[in-house]
Amino acid sequence: MFEELIISGYGGQGIMFCGTLLAHLAMEEGLNVTFFPSYGAEMRGGTANCRIVIAREEIGSPMVKNPSSLIVFNKPSLIKFSGQLKEKGLLIINSSLVEEEIVKEGIEVIRVPVTQIAQKLGNDKVANMIALGVYIKQKKIVSLESAIKGLESILLLKNKEEKKNLIEINREALKSGFKYNK
């Protein structure tokens, strides 16, 4: 297994959390993993993206150039990265914000209106978890159960006295992503 993933979107869309959670899940599965974040030239706003490599073998460069998978949350990200996707790669698009139809051939495209689904769940901040759910199901890096366990433990670690309902809604988002039928 050698998976190279780029996740990209606006700052504030939870890109980094999505990526670190995935890295954590991979680590818990005993895999090697690297996570590399990148912010645009601007402090805030603008695009943010991260690169994740997951592999059984030792990981050399963490700097993914031609990802095998790509998750994009907005249009600029699609424009920027879709060309770099490997042949037969996986592309997950937040169809709530990205209308574009034209993407290159020979890749698998999954469109999911993650922002809408998230809004329905009551918080558009969990769009990231929905996308992650979709991704995990596709790539089978980890089971849904492990993913949920990982998510909970990380949220608990980060926000010691976090309200339960934050965990709740994130868990639900992850689940609905996993169960989403394209």
Binding site: T20, E57, S61, M63
Partner: protein, 357 residues
């Protein structure tokens, strides 16, 4: 199974320092090392150490000077422009033989440059960007694990030789998050640390003669004497402290020499090159100074040629050339300004080299 945690390179340095008993940290914000300063702000408070956000990098290195005088393990960190500002202070520490750890999470230069990872400060680190004939040991981690481990080693070597040690990393390894073994006791109270150097530190002259620590040596020959003394110490480091990581050397015909992030990229290159039938191996200097001259000399006997890869316009390549002394061809592939070396480009270069007679 060992416990692993996911940690950012910069934070791994911080925890390494804490676990090494570092109890005085002085820093000034600069990207891409900010997580380290922030980490120290939190952890020093928890372990009842000293944390000061200094007014500048200059103040920070001089605070390290002061803290070191008292015998506590101490550290500062910054990134390229800030490290330039510390050069006078580092020279003073070397002259006064004060231990201390200086972390440089390199970014793109020259000037304000950018905040991407880079390896443009190799010369500065290994040749002494400051004035005078001094040397600092330079360690170059290439993973979160090594960020931790080599930080610990930095403190040991700094103490062993009473000399500043530089940990030279870059924005990529600093920002990258990776699993790392957590093989320490997480109860801070159990971290052992003690004051070192009871025979030279300044802590009040109770029960002993007053001491002075200084580097102004105006009497005839006095400064020369210090320099020869330092020289002997540096020679000892050259003999005893070289550390290097060899990879796929046995059957290699071409050797990549790379450190830090470039070495990681080099590993990907080698993985792919071997699949294409190219016999490529790697020498990864862990100590950039002292440089693994002898290791390179020895391996040079057995291989066809060398390819040095750096995220710079070519700095370490000089040390490789100095080691090889014209006995093998030394090729170079570099990218400056914080742009990341391309695996494909290096592969092309390797193919080109392997076709050379």
């Amino acid at each position: 199974m060992e416990k692993k945690i996911l940690i950012r390179g910069n934070e791994a340095i911080g925890e390494g320092a804490i676990q090494s008993g570092c109890r005085a940290y002085f820093g000034y914000p600069i990207t891409p090392q900010n997580e380290l300063t922030a980490y120290m702000a939190k952890r020093m408070f928890e372990v009842k150490g000293v944390f000061i956000q200094a007014e500048s990098e200059i103040a920070a290195i001089n605070m390290v000077f002061g803290a070191s005088l008292t015998g506590v393990r101490t550290m500062t960190s910054s990134s390229s422009p800030g490290i330039s500002l510390k050069q006078e202070g580092i020279s003073y520490m070397a002259a006064c033989q004060l231990p201390g750890v200086i972390v440089n999470i390199q970014r793109g230069g020259p000037g304000l440059g950018n905040i991407a990872g880079s390896q443009g400060d190799y010369f500065q680190a290994t040749r002494g960007g400051g004035h005078g004939d001094y040397r600092t040991i330079v360690l170059a981690p290439y993973s979160a694990q090594e960020m931790f481990d080599l930080t610990c080693l930095s403190f040991q070597l700094a103490d062993k030789y009473r000399n500043p040690v530089m940990l030279l990393s870059d924005g990529i390894v600093g920002q990258m998050i990776e699993p790392m073994r957590q093989n320490w006791d997480t109860n801070d109270k159990n971290i052992e640390w003690k004051v070192r150097g009871e025979d030279w530190i300044l802590n009040g002259c109770k029960g002993r003669e007053p001491r002075m620590v200084r580097s102004l040596l105006m009497e005839e020959g006095e400064l020369e004497k210090l320099n020869w003394e330092l020289n002997r110490k540096y020679k000892k480091m050259e003999e005893q402290e070289v550390r290097v990581d060899l990879w796929n050397i046995e059957d290699a015909e071409i050797i990549i020499v790379a450190y830090g992030i470039a070495a990681r990229i080099g590993k990907t290159v080698i993985q792919r090159a071997r699949r294409q039938g190219l016999k490529v191996g790697m020498i990864r200097p862990i100590t950039l100074w002292p440089f693994p001259i002898q290791v390179i000399k020895d391996i040079a006997q057995k291989v066809k040629s060398f390819l040095v890869i750096e995220m710079s316009l070519g700095q370490m390549v000089e040390d490789v050339r100095l080691a090889i002394e014209g006995k093998r061809r030394v090729h170079f592939c570099g990218r400056p300004g914080g742009s990341v070396l391309e695996v494909d480009e290096i592969l092309d270069k390797l193919r080109e080299i392997s076709n050379l007679k």
